[in-house]
Every structure is written in structure tokens, then in C-alpha cells.
């Protein structure tokens, strides 16, 4: 360490001014911080300087260093992107960005309602908007992501029914399935998969019937499912489950709810999903946040692990205040006796999603959803016009995403996607490893950012890549 460097205060550490540090030490009555650290036994101390990079104290040089690294990436503004499946490239409105970047929300934490009133209200409004989207009355503060959200509904259902077996539709994302298995294990060690119809991609109701028994607590399925297929027989499925005393949890893409019936309308007991498509940048999968909604009944509410922000009147006339509903449920209050655990999750993303929903309103959500249906339909048709390419693989209705099969091209998805990179295109997610029964298939996603031209470019590039 240079002597000169040592004596310069760091902009992030106000008391690193040597004179101030000295003054504090003097006030405490010690010589140096070692007089405090000295209580740590010698053999537990680190006796050498940490071998980590030197400080880049100049903000400009830091910016240059990090920007150079980030610029090594090819991003979805430079490339035409058709990846989706759990993280989607939707438009991020400027107002969402503005609110997300405000220091007040950005750097706040666990202050209570009288001090952080705005945070509570923004979260409450977020939950209220989700409630409208899914047409349910009870909504949590966001958990980590959709995977955590759906796994939580399984645990909640298990506690509510006292049963230890869960059914999960095979047509969900492999990532979410993995999370459910890990997270729900202590509640439902027994997880059975329900097949999908290889022709339509819809849930195989016969398979469901065969697996539905009295020890099943819940079926978790998605609509649209991982393949983008819109399930049409939700009510039939719900009725089957309810007839056995089991519950239905349905994962949804919130952007579909301007045009698709919400799960509550066909009998689901839980709705869950991710807030990321609502105004939050993808950030390499960092933009997630899971929502859970249920009826506002004590038996459901008592099982949430999440903080639940409730509205109530204050001592001031006409003033709304906020607070935590049934706080004793949570692990902050009850530790190992609580409903699961709680921690720093994704509240900022919830706030931003609330801004998004307020901006969009009912008409915005409807127009957006209609456009996504139309784009997916056009894109599938267009890609099918490429020889050897079948899109969609399933004979069904699709929302935003659809499967494309390349078996007819004699090429693997991996080969095709590599070749598409030369066209500055990120092709669809390769499904061949997770769903080998679908052959060389990929999951393509089109969003409101895709114009006709973009889809046509993809089709042309595919035609050139498959070389047929």
C-alpha cells in the first residue's frame, strides 16, 4: 500500500480520513482497531493481507473497467432474441425505470409503516393489482421467483390438507420442477409427475386420474404451460382434484391475464407466477420475483410464509396506515416454529411490477395480450414455412411461446442455434435434453418487441441455416 494512497479518505468511508479515525480512537481510549480485534484468538486471525485486487478508487476508471467487462457480452439489444421460458424480454416502460432507480425505494429496507409508509403502500398496491389480475383477494409480498412461489404453494397445500404427496404436471419448466423437489421435500417427499398429451401438449387427464389418490395434497400445473400451450380444461381438472380433497395450484404468466381467464375462474385454489415480465429488466435472470395469490380465507392466510402487508386506519382521521398481517406466522417472529422461512426476497421488483400494472391498466393488458397471441400465431406459421421445420409442435393454442421441431432438418437444435448466432439471433431454448421425447425441439418466444420484420428475419435465417 502506498503511503500516499493510505492517507486519502475513501469516498465511501467518511471516517477513513486519518485525522477523524485518530480522533475516534482517542475518544474510545484505544490506540488502534487492533485493541478491539485483539480479543480474537491468535489462531483464528488472518495474519496476512487479503490477496484480492487493488482498489480502483477513481469512479471513471471503475466504470471503464466494469463496462469493458460487460461489453464482452452480446446482449439482447444487439441480437434478435427468441429466448423465453421463465425470463422474458418485454418492454420496460420509462416510468418503471424511474421509480426503480429512485434512491428512496432502492436503498430502503425493513423500516415499518410509519417511517416507510410509501414502501408499504407501494407493496400494498402491487398486491392489489396482482389480486385484480388473478381475481383473488389475498396476495403475498413477492418471494424469490416463480419457482419459489409454486414450491411454496405445494408446501402450503400440504400443511392445509395434512397430506404428503404432490402431483406436478410434466409440462412445467425443469428449473421449477427442480426447485419444487428441493424446497417441498420435507413436506411432500413424494412427488409424482402427470404426463402431457404428446399431440396437444395439454395435461393428460387420464394420467391425472390414475395418479390422483387420497393422499394427494395438490396438483401444480401451468397455464399457459412451459410449451406455451393454453390449457382449456382447467375446470375439469379442478373438479377432479377437489373431489379427492386435493387442491389445485396454477402457475401463470401475468401478461396473459388480459386475454386469458385467470385460474380462479376455473377453480384453482392458488395462482402463482413471476413478476419479471412486468417492467423489470431480465438481467441475466436476475429480474425475478414470485407472486402467490389465494382466497382471503384464514386457512390459506395462516399458511403463507411471506410477509403480508395489510391496510388499516391510523389514529389520524382519514389516514391509511399499513402493517403486517398475522406476523406471528413468520420466521421473523417465530423462528423454527414459523411457516417455512422468510428473508430478503424481491420487494423492489414487486413495487416496479405495481407501477407497470398501473401504467397498463385493463386496456393495456388486453391490447398487449392480444398482440402476443397474434404474434405467436404469425411466427409459428411463418417458421413452419421453412422446410423441415414444424411449428408449433403441438396442435393447440399458444400464448407468446411455442415449440419448434427441427427433426425434419436433420440438424440438432444446438447446431442451429450456433449457426443463428452468426445472424445475430438467439434461437429458442433447446428442449432436447429435458424433453427427449420431443426430439430436436426448441421453445421460441415472441414478445411485443418483435415486429413482423424481426420474425421474417428469423425465418430467413433459419432457412439459410437449415440449408434446405
Amino acid at each position: 500500500m502506498e503511503e500516499k494512497e493510505k492517507r486519502r479518505a475513501h469516498p465511501y468511508i467518511p471516517n477513513s480520513v486519518p485525522e477523524i479515525k485518530e480522533e475516534l480512537l482517542k475518544e474510545i481510549g484505544i490506540e488502534s482497531a487492533e485493541d478491539i480485534f485483539g480479543q480474537i484468538p491468535e489462531h483464528l486471525r488472518l495474519k496476512r493481507p487479503l490477496n484480492i485486487p487493488k482498489a480502483i478508487t477513481s469512479e471513471y476508471e471503475l466504470k471503464k473497467h466494469v463496462t469493458d467487462l460487460l461489453s464482452k457480452n452480446k446482449n439482447c439489444e444487439e441480437y434478435l432474441n427468441f429466448l423465453g421460458g421463465g425470463c422474458w424480454q418485454h418492454y420496460v416502460p420509462a416510468v418503471c425505470k424511474t421509480i426503480m432507480e429512485r434512491d428512496e425505494f432502492l436503498s430502503a429496507y425493513v423500516g415499518e409503516a410509519f417511517a416507510d409508509h410509501g414502501k408499504f403502500q407501494a407493496q400494498f398496491e402491487y398486491a392489489s393489482c396482482i389480486g385484480e389480475l388473478v381475481d383473488m383477494d389475498m396476495v403475498n409480498t413477492p418471494t424469490y421467483d416463480w419457482a419459489m412461489a409454486c414450491a411454496t404453494t405445494v408446501r402450503m397445500a400440504s400443511r392445509m390438507t395434512g397430506r404428503g404427496k404432490a402431483l406436478v404436471a410434466e409440462s412445467i419448466s425443469p428449473e421449477r420442477l427442480s426447485c419444487i423437489k428441493n424446497y417441498a421435500w420435507s413436506a411432500t417427499p413424494d412427488i409424482e409427475m402427470v404426463k402431457y398429451d404428446p399431440k396437444t401438449g395439454l395435461l393428460d387427464i387420464d394420467d391425472l386420474k390414475s395418479k390422483l389418490s387420497d393422499d394427494v395434497c395438490v396438483l401444480y400445473m401451468e397455464n399457459p404451460n412451459f410449451f406455451g400451450v393454453i390449457e382449456s380444461r382447467g375446470q375439469e381438472i379442478a373438479d377432479l382434484l377437489h373431489s379427492k380433497g386435493a387442491l389445485l395450484s396454477v402457475g401463470v404468466d401475468p401478461l396473459s391475464l388480459g386475454v386469458l381467464e385467470p385460474p380462479a375462474h376455473y377453480g384453482a385454489n392458488f395462482a402463482c407466477g413471476d413478476v419479471q415480465p412486468m417492467g423489470i429488466p431480465m438481467s441475466y435472470g436476475g429480474g425475478l420475483g414470485g407472486f402467490i395469490a389465494t382466497p382471503d380465507e384464514p386457512k390459506f392466510v395462516a399458511e403463507y410464509p411471506s410477509l403480508l402487508f395489510g391496510i388499516a386506519e391510523t389514529v389520524e382521521d382519514g389516514e391509511y396506515g399499513f402493517g403486517e398481517v398475522l406476523y406471528e406466522r413468520t420466521s421473523y417472529a417465530s423462528r423454527d416454529k414459523a411457516k417455512d422461512f422468510l428473508g430478503t426476497m424481491a420487494q423492489l421488483h414487486g413495487i416496479v411490477a405495481g407501477v407497470y400494472m398501473a401504467l397498463m391498466g385493463p386496456q393495456g393488458m388486453k391490447e398487449l395480450g392480444e398482440g402476443l397471441l397474434q404474434r405467436a400465431s404469425y411466427a409459428a406459421k411463418k417458421l413452419s414455412s421453412v422446410k423441415g421445420v414444424k411449428a408449433p409442435l403441438f396442435d393447440s393454442y399458444h400464448f407468446k411461446e411455442f415449440t419448434v421441431n427441427f427433426d425434419g432438418t436433420k440438424k440438432t437444435v444446438a447446431e442451429i442455434n450456433k449457426a443463428l448466432l452468426d445472424h445475430k439471433i438467439f434461437g429458442g431454448k433447446d428442449l432436447s435434453k429435458d424433453f427427449p421425447e420431443m426430439g430436436q425441439s426448441a421453445l421460441f418466444c415472441v414478445t411485443e418487441l418483435h415486429g413482423k420484420e424481426d420474425i421474417d428475419i428469423l425465418a430467413d435465417a433459419l432457412a439459410s441455416v437449415v440449408g434446405m
Binding site: 398486491a127 381467464e261 393495456g364
Partner: protein
């Protein structure tokens, strides 16, 4: 601002944002959207979201923002154990760069070499700081990392065929709640040891707690008392000898950077709350990043994919058959990582130890000031031993003298433009507790201001107790008229629709 609920501002027909319509050719080709949906699945009545013009939405959320006390705008020593640092603005600029903001998690690894390199290099730094051999940056918060550690412990004992037997986790009373809740969620039973007069459990208690049922230990050091457990390595050894694994919750690591490490104390796993110790924003409670570090013999259990480097290229390793699987859909909150990477590079070798030194100096200065100014404040346990980064204070004497409780004082603090302070995790082992953490982001004048405010309130407790009891007076909102409404199914409401129904409004 007394800002209405956004639904109260709704006016039918208003638009805040118009989404891009598909090109005419697409519309024509695809036809009416209603026909692209299975029968009965088209939502005829769009969701009853609020309808506002754009200015009104913006103004509304600016008002709500102004009613929120973020750490970047106030003296936030208040939130003890939370390490409310300055969150540098440059890091926000960097996190908004399209090279991170517009990356899809499934892009070909050739197209994400920059972010993978950042993962890799940040992991190297964490390895050096902790002495662990491998890290996972998947978890989105501290509790998430603790839960993942519990999953790993489960997999470890399952692999050895002992999971059915080993279901007990040993922990301590002042350790964080998630160290009790997360293992419990993973299927373990907790044995929570009470503090000895040192503030942490006695060696005898640990010895008595271990058995062939012991799966492991989850513990903090310093716990929330700020007292360093000098016997920590012996705790670890006892648990190891009993066949258990040891996890070190490092939420309070801010004072030990470059001072002491998890490895030397013998831990098998540890974590850092990146949003605390590495200066990334708390975001009103997330997204954060809970970096989980393990020793080499546990590395195979980490969530997949891991980030690896073959000497030429960075890549994601999905082929980890013994992994506990996924604990989050993608490979971690990458935006948080970028900020943390920028923070540690700005701090660097020269200032990282300074962070710890100033943290402990700031705390010890504040503690001295408080105890000088306010005779009623006690600091229970381990008398005479200096706390490291924070202390659990006790207002019991003031409460007995005036009836003013720590929650009264907490609410009153908010009236001084400070974030109201944090009492303590439940249950309150120390009566009438207060926990303050003046980390390195605060100047001497912040510490003096804070001490002066507490002194002022302490004086009010004698001179004008009602003003404290009825606080807050100048905060964004007031006390609730009836706290019990939040526990009453007939009155609680987490959505506006529920509130309207229960109030009988329309």
C-alpha cells in the same frame, strides 16, 4: 402527501401506456385474438386494474418514494444487523448497462463471457475473504443461502445413509431467525442453546447437545450481541466429532473482513449477505444476494449450474449429478452481482480491512457516547468485553423508571428524520432491546447526531412521556388505530379489493 390508494385515483378510460400493436400483416394473418384462444378461455372482462394517465402514475409513485426513508438519504444506523451502507450510484449505472440488463439467462455461453468472468472473479474474492473453496451465487438473499446450506447438509447425510437418523441442528439464541427457520423448513429439528454469561452458549452446552442425531450447527459469530465467540473453533470441533457439519452465518461479517475467516475456525460452509457486507442496495427487502461458500468436499452438492473456467473460456457446468438441484430458476441475481463486483473493486485490498476497522471504531465510539449520555442504557453479557460492530442494548432501566418502552422510543426516533430503529429479533432474550449498527458508511457527525437524538428521547421519557408514547408525530403516517385489525380475518386486507369488500364500500 396523504397520497390516496392508486385505485382511488382511477378514472375509466385513462391510459398510462400504449403497448406496441402488431403490424397490420400480423393482425391480418393471425386474425382476431379471440379465435387464438381455446373456447371459454378468453377473458371477456379485462382485469380491473386502475386507469390513470402517465403523469398521475409517475406523481403517485414519486410521492410514495418521498415517503420512504432509504439508506442513501438518511442516517440509517438504525437498522442493526442490516449493515445499511451507502449504495454507490455508479453501481446503479453499471447495473443498467445493456451488457447486464438485457442478457437472457439462456444465452449461449460464448455470448456471456463478460458476466461469467465477473461471477468467477467475484467468487475468487469471496474465497479469499472466507477461506472457503467454492461459492454459489444462486441464492437471492441471506435466508435463501442458509436454506441452501441446509439442503446441502441434508444431501451430505443422505449420501452417508444417515439422514433418517441425523435430523438435529444445533444453534444459539442470538443467532439469526433464518438459521432456525430455514433448517426447519428443510426438515430438521432445532436445538437452540441459550447464552451463557458471555452472550453465547457455553462449551458444555454444545457438548451436551451433540449426539448421533446431530446433523450440524448453524451459528452466527458475532451473534447479534456483537460479542465475538472466542471458542467458536471448539464448537465446530465438537460438532465435527459428533459427525455433524457446521455452517457459519456471516450476516455480521462486515467487521471481520481481512481480520478473521470461516476457514480458520473450521467451518464447512458459510455465507455472506452481499447486500449488507458488499454494499448492494436492499431494495425495500430484495433482491439481495446470499453467497454460499463451502469447503471442497461439499462443492459437489452446490446448486447447478456453477461457473467454471477452463483456462480459455468461462462456462456453466450443469453436469453436477450430486447437486441439491436448483434453488432458484436461473444462476442467481446477476444484477446484484454486478453491483457487488463494482463495490469490492472500488474498495479493493487497500480499503477492505479499513471497512472492518472503521466499523468497529464507529460502533465502539457510539457505544461509549450512548453509555456516557444515557445512564439507563445497559449492554448485557460479557461485561468489559468490547463489542465488534454492534451491541444489543437494553432500555429496561428506563422502562422501569418511566414506563417508556423500546418500541415507544423506536417510534419516536422516526420523528427526527432518522429511520426508526430496530429493536431486536424475537424472542427478546434481552428485555427492551435496541440494536444499532453504525457501519463504515457513517461519519462521526452521524454518530453524534444519533446519540443526541436518543438522549433527547430519554429526557422526554421523564419530562413528556406522552409525546414518546404517541409517536410518531412527523412521520409519513401515524400509529394504527387498532393493531389487532391485522390479525382479524374480518378486517385484515392485503389487497384493495379485499379492503373495499370488508368495509362494504363500492
Amino acid at each position: 402527501w396523504n397520497e390516496p390508494i392508486i385505485f382511488e385515483l382511477s378514472v375509466p378510460g385513462r391510459r398510462g401506456l400504449i403497448p406496441p400493436a402488431p403490424d397490420e400483416e400480423i393482425k391480418k394473418e393471425a386474425g382476431d385474438a379471440k379465435n387464438l384462444v381455446p373456447k371459454g378461455m378468453f377473458r371477456e372482462q379485462p382485469p380491473a386494474l386502475p386507469e390513470l394517465d402517465q403523469k398521475r402514475v409517475l406523481a403517485h409513485y414519486i410521492h410514495l418514494a418521498q415517503e420512504t426513508l432509504g439508506a442513501n438519504l438518511c442516517n440509517d444506523i438504525s437498522q442493526g444487523t442490516c449493515t445499511m451502507k451507502y449504495n454507490p450510484r455508479i453501481n446503479e449505472e453499471l447495473a443498467a448497462h445493456p451488457g447486464i440488463a438485457s442478457l437472457h439467462p439462456w444465452q449461449d455461453v460464448d455470448t456471456v463471457q463478460g458476466i461469467l468472468q465477473m461471477y468467477y472473479e467475484f467468487e475468487e474474492i469471496l474465497k479469499e475473504v472466507s477461506g472457503m473453496d467454492k461459492f454459489s451465487l444462486h441464492p437471492q438473499g441471506g435466508a435463501h443461502a442458509v436454506y441452501t446450506a441446509a439442503s446441502i447438509m441434508r444431501a451430505y447425510h443422505r449420501d452417508r445413509g444417515e439422514l433418517d437418523k441425523r435430523r438435529e441442528i444445533i444453534s444459539a439464541a442470538f443467532t439469526h431467525p433464518c438459521d432456525h427457520a430455514a433448517p426447519a423448513t428443510a426438515g430438521f429439528r432445532l436445538i437452540i442453546l441459550p447464552p451463557s454469561e458471555n452472550g453465547y452458549p457455553s462449551i458444555e452446552a454444545v457438548k451436551a447437545a451433540v449426539s448421533e442425531r446431530t446433523a450440524g450447527m448453524f451459528i452466527t459469530n458475532p451473534e447479534d450481541t456483537g460479542i465475538y465467540n472466542t471458542e467458536i473453533d471448539q464448537f465446530v470441533k465438537i460438532v465435527h466429532d459428533a459427525g455433524g457439519l457446521c455452517f457459519y452465518d456471516q450476516a455480521n461479517a462486515n467487521v471481520l473482513l481481512g481480520i478473521a475467516r470461516a476457514r480458520e475456525a473450521g467451518f464447512d460452509m458459510c455465507h455472506f449477505n452481499i447486500h449488507k457486507t458488499f454494499g448492494t442496495p436492499h431494495g425495500c427487502s430484495g433482491p439481495g444476494l446470499g453467497a454460499l461458500g463451502v469447503r471442497d468436499y461439499l462443492a459437489k452438492y452446490l446448486p447447478f449450474p456453477t461457473v467454471e473456467y477452463d483456462g480459455e473460456k468461462y462456462y456453466l457446468d450443469f453436469d453436477r449429478p450430486e447437486s441439491v438441484g436448483k434453488i432458484r430458476q436461473f444462476q442467481g441475481p446477476a444484477g446484484v452481482l454486478v453491483r457487488a463486483y463494482a463495490w469490492i473493486r472500488a474498495i479493493g485490498q487497500e480499503y477492505l480491512k479499513e471497512v472492518s476497522e472503521i466499523s468497529t471504531i464507529n460502533h465502539n465510539y457510539l457505544q461509549k457516547k450512548l453509555q456516557e449520555l444515557i445512564p439507563e442504557i445497559d449492554v448485557p453479557y460479557a461485561p468489559g468485553r468490547r463489542r465488534l460492530e454492534e451491541a444489543r442494548y437494553c432500555w429496561q432501566k428506563l422502562f422501569e423508571a418511566t414506563g417508556i418502552s423500546t418500541t415507544d422510543i423506536m417510534r419516536r426516533v422516526g420523528d427526527f428524520g432518522l429511520q426508526h430503529y430496530w429493536t431486536s429479533h424475537h424472542p427478546w432474550v434481552v428485555p427492551e432491546p435496541m440494536t444499532l449498527e453504525p457501519c463504515e458508511s457513517y461519519g462521526k457527525e452521524d454518530l453524534d447526531e444519533y446519540a443526541a437524538v436518543l438522549k433527547h428521547i430519554r429526557d422526554e421519557a421523564y419530562s413528556d412521556p406522552e409525546v414518546v408514547k404517541n409517536a410518531p408525530h412527523k412521520c409519513a403516517s401515524h400509529k394504527l388505530a387498532d393493531e389487532s385489525a391485522l390479525d382479524d380475518p374480518k378486517r385484515w386486507a392485503t389487497t384493495w379489493r379485499a379492503y373495499v369488500k370488508k368495509k362494504g364500500r363500492t
